[in-house]
Symmetry: C2
Subunit: 272 residues, 2 copies
Amino acid sequence: MKRIALLGCGSMGTQIALTIDSNDFPAVLTHVYDASKAASSSLVEKLNNKPEIVENSHLLSSQHIDIVVEAASQDAVKDVALSVLQNKKDLMIMSVGALLDESIYDILSDACKDFKKTIYLPSGAIAGLDGIKSVKSELESLSITTTKHPRSLKGAKFFENSDINLDKIDSITTIFDGTAKEAVSLFPANINVAALLSLTGIGSKQTKVRILADPNTDKNTHHIEASGKFGKMTFTIENFPDKNNPKTSRLAILSAIETLKKYCSDEIQIGT
Amino acid sequence: MKRIALLGCGSMGTQIALTIDSNDFPAVLTHVYDASKAASSSLVEKLNNKPEIVENSHLLSSQHIDIVVEAASQDAVKDVALSVLQNKKDLMIMSVGALLDESIYDILSDACKDFKKTIYLPSGAIAGLDGIKSVKSELESLSITTTKHPRSLKGAKFFENSDINLDKIDSITTIFDGTAKEAVSLFPANINVAALLSLTGIGSKQTKVRILADPNTDKNTHHIEASGKFGKMTFTIENFPDKNNPKTSRLAILSAIETLKKYCSDEIQIGT
């Protein structure tokens, strides 16, 4: 029975906590923390097995637990990830964008080896990372094209220096065409997908990102192309938003839960 | 440093052994077995760190090792898998078709829980299993269409009761359209891919398989479609054959090596 601590009691954290509470796999949620005391209290109220609310995020990994699940923010990752490993606990990270900072990635990668602990990054709103990491050493090109409704792109930093009027788009329109490194700062809502793909493959400078606006779609679609000596892979993932949290794809929540389930279970584990 | 025993010293086993021998990840190959003494001797000769050749396959898991890697045959899986787990060792299986026998799957799944050990199944010649297992509970349909050159289909049991003459095919032709359960007995060369997809998703009776012959292709192409409440995923994997073993896709070898590397390393692990 694995003992889990949860950092972040928002929509994603709540769905993970409710799944653990349903006893679907051998795990118990023992401790939680959220910067908002109201959020953590509200979560605990919903659960049958009440976890303890700790006073600050660093107190999660000093408890008798196996893994800390981060569902908070990039800043939370930067703040606690290293101390989780130093406290000899595993870590699952949802805010993957934090690892695009190479110095942070290297520090955490070394810490995994030093403390013999593992950081888990679920596949998020995309899929096919099993294939991409297998062919990593032979990859010649890697790209992702994301298509969303114009309203889902609103507020992105990109539009501060652009003439594009999202309200006037009446057919599929290319908004951005560049590298993952450029994309993550200009389109924060896309950061986890671009970061995951970059980290799995050939890095954010060599990974191409295109962002399209489609006024006639109700889904977020990611189209990934990878090619090299092994052959070629193309993956198209059409995601409906989660009904509890329209900003998140249903798949992102399901892949987080599946990753945690795999961690907690002695089982036949399918997939690279 | 993980200690690895290898069951099967053919082409796949040899490539895995050479990778371990190259010290690419923290592992050492300590014991090997092959039904052909010549095959095991020939493999040992190629390695810098010489593993011990054991006298029979059951002696692999009674050694001081962490994991047995099977790269032999379905029969070998049926013969040794349970005793590997009973000896408290992990197991990586390449001949995944063996698990389509439901009684074997259930016995091994229970044994993983009883002995707190894990069986690993690499993604093989396909990809996207991270996504499919995440949405397993919401899957409404799952299919795979495999396209190969007619010569790659020769010798399949299917043709014993078919009028199709593979030598006369001059354009893309549908050879088979049915369930994975039917396909695995009729097309043995396709068994691992169909078995993997069935086990990941909704079982071999509900997984659709189509097999096409294309006289103008030099690749094996797998096209997977999965749909449900979450949305839809399509994966197209175009594989070149491995140059050392034309019957195997390069990706199948790379995914086996990646799975083993992940098992052996304390690292940041990407993907569900």
